[in-house]
């Protein structure tokens, strides 16, 4: 099949014209009772016999050479069973490994898990201990003697790019899509998208706006800290219970980091208390595995504290962004230019590519240039965070677009509609869009009562922003069997973070035309279902849902064959509708057939898919704020989030994703930031000081679902989870401008930063 055909792989009658029985309803989630009664099993609930407890020694310095580590005293402490350092980790290959949506250099990942030679950020893991109690393990950490040669830290992305900056990784050279630089640097990579004639485009413009923006490093803020329990059996089999977004991803990383064949690794994904991208990379799993082996094959559990999570897992990048855009008097964008420098943390791998791809992706542009830089700083290695890199970039571009609207005295949604991309237009990076729903989403926002509601008061303002996210497909698998009572057991490979058990059960029920309560979904481990990528990239309902759809078709076919066998006719003569098999005078319900064919031969099937036709998603957010000019506090009055979701499988969970994404984006916009002192110590590593929004900070977020079905999915699904975090910073900045006349160019727009901006214009 060539690529063009892949975009036509949806159901023959087209997802836009389908009428559904199960899809679009709001059944109770299959895991709901366990979750609300506290019976659901999380990583903390794992207690194998003989369990040891682990603790991790972390660097007190942001940048230092490790002169020596002496673990002898710790090893001698009664109750201590094992101590490990980087010397216990196998040498990792200098090889980039494909992790599905993203890739990672295995050597750097190994060095991040246990520091080797240098510590590169405050909290960098250096050693780990397993003992008979957590208290003994923590006491043992104090007995590990480390001699450091403290080095100056590099904490600012622009300072890190300077020619005379302190070098963090001596062997790093800038990569420019295959062309390697020849000098030591902190710039891991540079990328560029360019088309048209930028100078000519700006020459056509009647108004031009250029601004610089800075954003702070922020964390996903999931409630459940990272945890892992590992049992290394004497026969070489390893079992890992962990809180992860992808069991197969953990298995692959353990294989690459510890050189254990995948056939000897079983990863059991426990229920997960949030991930948002931060639980794809392993941190504790390799340590628990090594400690288990070294302690005499006893199970070892490691759990992070909140401070560990904030200091030493993967937040997302702080950034410096410069945007220049021009438009003519009719409101047509004529040119756009952007420069994005993203903090990668201590090792390469910021989401700058995604930020650079998405920064102008809502707009039709003939003339553009976008440069992106991935830059090392002495902060924790960044990881994915819901639409990685998108919110930073959108904050910058949507603020500039708003300023253009002001200069042109044009309605913000009208301006965006005049420039909105549609099917056939080109994205920033060049390829053309398939069917997308930006225009429908903008029109829905413009028609929403919120957009026309009066907003009175001296310091009140309404802001708008729109945003793009590309979404991801990836490999997914599912298997299922028909039970003798006619119900269906479904095993899927995707960890359920946001209600995907329900979404999978519903898609299978739709294919089989049975009640959703007849489908019993189960999240499998790595030995019970075929390879499935993690729950990331807004892919699960799309890709695993597609696997479930294919599974349903196979089950239906096999049921027809068994009915034909029973009736002694050809399978082609059997038809199936609404839970009933028919062929001439023969008629039998699925439940009756399941009983009839319960003859010892199981009826089961499995399916694996690798879809490449994920449909991009667009969102438009509207927010009203009241800003106190004395304190700088921004109070949200009303928030509406409009989003094209393709087809809403379970509208309640779609709305939940939209509301959750908006809430995280609001926190990022208004309060959240990593605060460091001059030596690179993180100063706010607790939820008391790392200020995430609570229910008291937020109004009801009105989620408005727009359905423009994705032609590249049997049911028209688009990913919905990521794009809602993208618009809030831009929408809020634009609302604050209208409230105070102050253009905010710094995230977070916390009271202090708002006051500084106010004082600056008063001066």
């Amino acid at each position: 099949m060539n690529a063009k055909d892949k975009l036509k792989t949806g159901a023959a009658d087209g997802p836009a014209t389908r009428e559904y029985t199960v899809i679009g309803t709001r059944p109770v989630r299959p895991d709901g009772v366990d979750k609300v009664t506290g019976r659901a099993l999380y990583g903390a609930d794992v207690h194998p016999t003989g369990l040891l407890y682990g603790a991790v020694l972390r660097s007190p310095h942001a940048h230092a050479r490790i002169v020596s580590i002496d673990t002898r005293e710790a090893e001698a402490l009664p109750g201590v069973k094992a101590v490990i350092t980087a010397a216990d980790m196998p040498e990792a290959a200098d090889e980039v490994s494909d992790h599905g949506e993203t890739s990672v250099n295995i050597r750097y990942q190994s060095w991040n898990i246990l520091a080797r030679g240098k510590v590169l950020y405050h909290g960098h893991a250096m050693a780990a201990v397993a003992a008979t109690s957590l208290h003994i393990a923590q006491e043992a950490l104090k007995l590990i003697r480390v001699e450091y040669e403290v080095l100056p830290p590099v904490l600012d992305v622009r300072a890190a790019m300077a020619a005379d900056a302190t070098i963090i990784l001596e062997n790093l050279r800038t990569d420019e899509l295959g062309h390697k630089g020849d000098r030591p640097t902190n710039i891991a990579s540079h990328m560029r998208h360019e088309r048209g004639d930028l100078d000519a485009g700006f020459a056509q413009a009647d108004v031009i706006v250029e601004r610089e923006f800075t954003t702070s490093m922020v964390h996903q803020g999931y409630i459940e800290p990272q945890n892992a329990t590992a049992l290394y059996n004497p026969d070489g089999q390893v079992t890992i219970w962990t809180s992860t977004q992808g069991a197969f991803g953990v298995r692959s990383q353990i294989e690459e980091l510890l050189h254990i064949p995948v056939s000897r690794i079983r990863v059991i994904p426990m229920e997960i208390g949030g991930g948002f991208g931060g639980k794809n990379d392993v941190y504790l799993e390799p340590l628990a595995t090594l400690l288990s082996k070294k302690s005499g094959y006893r199970p070892v559990k490691l759990t992070m504290s909140r401070a560990d999570v904030l200091q030493a897992t993967g937040p997302t990048s702080g950034s410096y962004i410069r945007v220049k855009m021009g438009a003519d008097k009719t409101g047509r964008l004529t040119a756009a230019e952007a420069y994005l420098a993203y903090e990668a943390g201590a090792f390469p791998g910021s989401p700058v590519e995604s930020g650079a791809n998405g920064i102008f992706n809502a707009y039709r542009l003939d003339n553009l240039r976008v440069d992106g830089y991935d830059v090392l700083v002495n902060k924790p290695k960044t990881a994915a965070y819901r639409a990685p890199g998108g919110s930073n970039a959108s904050f910058a571009s949507e603020s500039v677009v708003d300023e253009l609207c002001r200069k042109l005295e044009m309605d913000p949604i009208e301006f965006r509609l005049r420039n909105a991309v549609k099917e056939g237009d080109r994205k920033v990076d060049g390829p053309r869009y398939p069917r997308i729903g930006l225009i429908e989403t903008l029109e829905a926002a413009r028609a929403h009562p919120h957009y026309h509601a009066p907003l009175e008061g001296p310091h009140r303002g309404r802001g708008v922003a729109c945003a793009y996210w590309g979404n991801y497909g990836g490999r997914s698998s599912a298997s299922g069997s028909i039970n003798r009572d006619g119900t269906v057991s479904l095993v899927e490979g995707s960890v359920d973070i946001g209600g995907s058990r329900a979404a999978m059960a519903m898609q299978l029920a739709e294919v089989l035309e049975v009640p959703v309560t007849d489908v019993k979904p189960l999240v499998g481990d790595t030995d019970s279902v075929a390879y499935t990528e993690g729950t990331y990239g807004s892919r699960t309902t799309f890709a695993t849902g597609w696997a479930v759809y294919e599974l349903g078709l196979k089950l239906k076919q096999r049921l027809c064959e068994r009915a034909a066998e029973l009736w002694e006719i050809d399978p082609e003569e059997v038809s199936y509708a609404a839970g009933v098999f028919t062929a001439g005078a023969h008629r039998m319900t699925l439940k009756a057939l399941a009983r009839e064919i319960d003859d010892g031969r199981p009826l089961m099937a499995s399916a694996t898919v690798l879809p490449e036709t994920e449909g991009p998603a667009f969102a438009v957010h509207i927010v009203d704020v009241d800003v106190d000019p004395e304190t700088g506090k921004v109070q949200l009055l009303r928030y509406t989030a409009v989003q094209d979701v393709g087809t809403a499988i379970h509208p309640s969970y779609v709305e939940g994703q939209i509301q959750g994404g908006a809430a995280q984006g609001i926190g990022w916009a208004l309060n959240e930031e990593y605060v460091y002192d001059a030596e690179g110590h993180m100063l706010n590593a607790s939820f008391l000081d790392y200020r995430m929004p609570t229910a008291l900070d937020l109004p009801m977020i009105d989620a408005v679902i727009v359905e423009v079905p994705n032609p590249g999915h049997p049911y028209g699904v688009r990913g919905v989870g990521e794009v809602p975090i993208v618009p809030p910073p831009g929408a809020l900045a634009n609302a604050i401008y209208r409230a105070l006349g102050v253009r905010m160019t710094v995230l977070p727009m916390s009271p202090g930063h708002v006051l500084e901006a106010l004082w600056a214009i008063e001066d």
Binding site: N2, A3, K4, K6, L7, V96, S97, D98, E101, T102, S103, V104, D175, E176, L177, G178, H179, S189, H190, M191, R192, H193, E194, R195, G277, T316, A344, P348, G349, S350, P351, V352, E353, S354, R369, G372, D374, T382, A383, A384, Y385, P388, G389, D429, G430, P431, R432, Y433, P434, G473, G474, R475, L610, E612, T613
Partner: protein, 92 residues
């Protein structure tokens, strides 16, 4: 012949050309023909082992990102295909 969009950072090899048409029934054949016309392109696209594309390169054919590193070079092209070589998503 497939239309190939030249990455902005490779245009030093193409004299500034942003797009070109290149014969080839697969991605691999197009790269070989591109190399014949613009020496140096292959070295930037391929991994040091010479057998596969670099992990940092994503291939997009007619708007579809081709997944699966082992098969991307075999991806079939049509007479009207549009081919992009883009920076892969490497982090986040």
């Amino acid at each position: 012949m497939a239309v190939v969009w030249i990455p902005a950072l490779y245009r030093d090899l193409t004299g500034g050309e942003a797009t070109t048409t290149v014969p080839g029934d697969t991605v691999r054949e197009v790269i070989e023909n591109l190399e014949a016309r613009y020496p140096g392109v292959r070295a930037r696209l391929y991994h040091e082992d010479g057998a596969r594309l670099r992990p940092g390169v994503a291939v997009v054919v007619d708007g579809v990102v081709i997944r699966g590193r082992s098969r991307v070079l075999r991806e079939p092209l049509t007479e009207t295909s549009e081919l992009h070589f883009l920076p892969a998503i490497s982090g986040g």
